[in-house]
Subunit: 153 residues, 2 copies
DNA sequence: GGCAGAATCATTCGAAAGGATGACGACGGG
DNA sequence: CCCGTCGTCATCCTTTCGAATGATTCTGCC
């Protein structure tokens, strides 16, 4: 969906939203409720929508409140040195780390099994365990998490 | 101005707003700008709209105390510059690139479908195409290849 | 106004991945 | 000597992926 249809879709959504707001507004006015309260609700709603959009689009939290813009500088380049403390704290074993690295290189379970001279089942076990420890449900997610935490290169 | 006219006015405004947002979105996406930046703009816009609504409706200023948005941008250590030439030469489309990035973030096809407002089938199609263009058979491999070639962060 | 490139969605199938468990031998430290 | 950790392997079952196609709709462009 794009082009005219695209625009029309969003336009209609926007229109409906506004109409709904108007409806709510009238209901509130008729019911003699505080206009201020209504305004706050609407404002809060839009703010929430904005924040939600931020979260949805970026996929990461948008923190509201503090007045600072922090910038994370994760990778200063240089020869990668794994965060042993992090690995330790997560209880990741050497073998699991090995499997994790191979996963990051894009190998399938079968390929890893061949390279490590073990059965595919064993690889899957290691993978499952390391996913668990990383809190990942997918290998791609595990890779993303591991890299962002300095566990693997 | 009231009644239908009233509603129509607001509807049109809403529609135009959304259309504008879409326009901005595509500009940003096509120009490969940071999605985070875009999200912040949208969020700030909606928040501002909410505040404006509050002021307009109540007829009195809404005191906004320290409402700032803190966004954690992952790696501005040399703001990643995608290799447009490489992307071009491989014939990777904007949508495919988008899917590729989400894959790298560890999302499943279903999650991507929800975030992009398309069907899972569509996501799978984009994924297949981009795998083809990258010469990858697995998503993890695609991520590895794309990163090593400066296609994605 | 037609055409190429996109984006969209669908169907079907087989392969890969993942979850849940259970088990067994090796090794090391109480 | 017993227990805990690690590494190994297995089975069963569900979900997800990926390949191969075909079709439709939009958009941009000549």
């Amino acid at each position: 969906m794009s082009g005219f249809k695209h625009l029309a879709f969003y336009g209609v959504c926007g229109g409906l939203l506004i109409v709904a707001l108007q409806f709510v507004r009238y209901r509130f006015l008729v019911l003699e409720h505080s206009v201020e309260v209504y305004a706050v609700i609407v404002a809060a709603g839009f703010a929430a929508l904005g924040i939600w959009l931020g979260i949805t689009i970026t996929g990461r939290p948008v923190v509201v409140k503090e007045v600072t813009v922090e910038v994370q500088v994760p990778a200063p380049a240089g020869p990668f040195e794994p965060d042993l403390a992090k690995i330790e704290s997560l209880g990741i074993t050497p073998r699991e780390l090995e499997v994790l690295q191979l996963i990051a290189e894009g190998l399938s379970n079968k390929e890893m099994a061949e390279r490590l001279f073990v059965s595919e089942n064993t690889v899957k076990t290691h993978a499952s365990r390391v996913f668990d420890k990383l809190g990942a449900g997918r290998r791609t997610q595990a890779v993303q998490l591991a890299k962002s935490q300095g566990i693997i290169a």
